[in-house]
């Protein structure tokens, strides 16, 4: 009985498309984007893939989707260019790979995985990351292919002298990410972002910083975070949530505790997706919205506003 329950809980994949305030006209695109990313990740798991394969696949889908602030659709920095950060972490070995301020790459999450697997390092930055990408035969893409009309419009809007930086950040805060547990109980996380709108050249946020943008440990669980990067770093949010789980809190309670602490201590809002090794999962956020979707036991779960939780069969195309 217990065994069959465990079997039904695994595998599972849970993705987010960023915490923030998503303009109404874009909310449908965000929801369908996270749902299709969760489906893709789940297909990998059903085909016997590892949790690492699944989170990389899900995040690749989100990077390729221009609705999200990662890969194609990334926000632009102050000089109108795209610089991206990404991380992956394997809960079995605690190995991680990250890239920061990388340019001209369609899928930073895949490059982060290569850093983990093909080098003795855990993070490569800027030019060095590009150099490594070339040595691995990762194709360089023109910057234009990563820029959407929407991101260019927002960049220009934020350059005008009386721009409201808070308003301009809204709706494009979000980072994308995924966590998963495979049939063997291995957990993994992946997070990818274009960063903050109109950021300085070379700015690195929380995303590629282990313990802030994500963390995965087979003994505890996995977390991917989103929100205001500098605030997430102050509390090393992913690691904080896992400390609470080590102390016996559920994925949901630990996520809420971590987010509440970030709000009370440093006034920051954000969101997380969290799993434990048994397959319990929780998408939690203190922002107005966070697009999220999960796939488990042939069921797709998704939501956007607090308390929203829709379900449908995984093979239902709508």
């Amino acid at each position: 009985m217990l065994l069959s329950q465990v079997t039904e809980m695994l595998p599972v994949v849970l993705v987010h498309g960023g915490a923030g305030q998503i303009p109404k006209e874009r909310s449908q695109m965000s929801t369908s984007g996270v749902c299709s990313a969760a489906r893709s990740g789940y297909l990998v798991l059903q085909g016997g893939g590892s949790s690492m394969d699944a989170v990389v696949e899900a995040v690749t889908q989100l990077e390729n989707n221009p609705s999200f602030n990662a890969g194609c659709g990334s926000v632009l920095n102050i000089t109108g260019e795209v610089e991206m950060d990404a991380i992956v972490m394997d809960g079995k070995t605690l190995a991680s790979g990250a890239v920061s301020a990388v340019r001209n790459i369609a899928n930073p999450v895949q490059l982060a995985r290569l850093v983990m697997e093909k080098t003795s390092h855990a993070c490569l930055t800027a030019e060095g990351a590009s150099k490594f990408a070339r040595s691995m035969g990762v194709p360089e893409v023109p910057q234009e292919s990563l820029i959407t009309d929407y991101s260019r419009m927002r960049w220009k809007k934020n350059l005008v002298p009386d721009a409201n930086p808070v308003e301009c950040q809204m709706g494009k805060m979000g980072t994308v990410g995924a966590v998963a547990v495979d049939a063997e109980g291995n957990v993994a996380c992946a997070t990818s972002t274009g960063g903050m709108l109109n950021k300085m050249e070379g700015r690195v946020g929380d995303t590629p910083c282990i313990g802030s943008g994500g963390y995965a440990d087979n003994l505890v669980g996995a977390v991917s975070t989103t929100g205001h990067g500098e605030t997430i770093m102050k509390v090393t949010l992913a690691r904080l949530i896992l400390f609470h789980m080590e102390q016996g809190q559920s994925a949901e309670a630990a996520s809420d505790l971590g987010l509440a602490y970030m709000k009370s201590r440093v006034g920051g809002i954000g969101g997380v997706v969290t799993v434990d090794p048994k397959g319990n999962w929780a998408p939690r956020f203190s922002s107005l919205q966070m697009a999220w979707a999960a796939a488990q036991n042939d069921t797709l779960h998704y939501g956007l506003y607090t308390g929203e939780h829709f379900t449908q069969a995984i093979d239902d195309p709508h």
Partner: protein
């Protein structure tokens, strides 16, 4: 409240020819940092001053005397964190800067960001009139020879760690009279590292962490292992749960050894003035100033003292 300052000059198998200079270097840096505290300076100002002294000393792998990457260039990482606000600043893979810890502090104080990398960090330095130095001025004779030796024999980074010859990081933690804690860490990284490699030093929670409610930590050792266990934050989580600073450091370094086979060291100070310098490598040069006493050591369990004014 009595102020405390602790510094380290890196945890590794410090060879005999560098031993005395390393001990002298950390003692000098500890004196520099503690004089800032004694004249009423903040913990932030003290850790910055102590780390600058270590960066300026060519014996240590930070600032002057940093290790060279695979292309024979110096690329530096540093971070600083203020336990009062949890604000931090960091630079990674920055070139031609003699004191990266001060640039990290500028990132914290003069931008809305917490970390700048590569060319962006240098552009920022330029924009605030931060002085740059010629690349060659940071390269010591010792490191140039080491690099050429490795180039000749094509020895990899992994091999260096098996031999425990990795040359590491410097750092400081402090508690000031107002009860504020801070940490700072600075490094040239691993010898023969890939271009753009970022280690644990500039990563918050790994190379360092400071929180007025718990304490401050600066870490050293195998960067990729420190990253795996987010060592600084791990040590503080043990302190949060009631462990002493020394138990918390030992437990966490043991976890790093057992779980990911990594060796390293850490210095810690708590808001009540408890402090510890702990390591699992063969040696770590460290020094601490508490009241009018200067403590220092190099070997495991070595703890020597002398009066500050003598």
């Amino acid at each position: 409240m009595s102020a405390v300052l602790v510094v380290h000059g890196g945890a590794w198998a410090i060879p005999e020819e560098l031993a005395q200079a390393s001990v002298d270097g950390v003692k000098t840096a500890a004196r520099e940092g503690s004089s800032v505290l004694r004249s009423g300076g903040s913990a932030m100002a003290a850790v910055e001053a102590a780390v600058r002294a270590l960066e300026d000393n060519a014996v240590f792998n930070a600032g002057h005397g940093a290790t060279l990457n695979i292309d024979g260039e110096v690329e530096l990482d540093a971070m600083i964190m203020d336990g009062k606000t949890l604000a931090s600043g960091a630079v990674s893979s920055v070139k031609d800067i003699a004191n990266p810890v001060s640039l990290a502090r500028a990132v914290m104080e003069k931008t809305s960001h917490a970390m700048l990398t590569g060319r962006g960090a240098n552009l920022f330095a330029e924009s605030i009139g931060f002085s740059t130095v010629p690349a060659d001025s940071l390269v010591s004779e010792f490191e140039r020879k080491e690099w050429e030796l490795r180039k000749k024999y094509m020895k990899g980074v992994a091999e260096d760690f098996k031999l425990k010859l990795a040359h590491d990081t410097v750092g400081a933690v402090a508690l000031d009279c107002a009860g504020n804690v801070a940490c700072a860490t600075s490094t040239g990284g691993i010898r023969n590292k890939m271009v753009g490699r970022v280690g644990d030093s500039p990563i918050i929670g790994c190379g360092g962490y400071a929180d007025n409610l718990i304490g401050a930590v600066s870490c050293t050792g195998h960067g990729e292992s420190i990253l795996k266990v987010t060592l600084a934050r791990l040590i503080l989580s043990h302190i949060e749960r009631g462990k002493s600073v020394s138990e918390a450091s030992q437990l966490s370094l043991q976890t790093m050894g057992d779980r990911v086979q990594g060796a390293g060291g850490a210095i810690v100070v708590s808001p009540s003035g408890e402090w510890a310098a702990t390591f699992t490598t063969e040696r770590m040069a460290w020094a601490a100033v508490e009241h009018d006493v200067l403590w220092f050591g190099l070997e495991p369990n070595e703890k020597q003292k002398e009066m500050l004014h003598q």
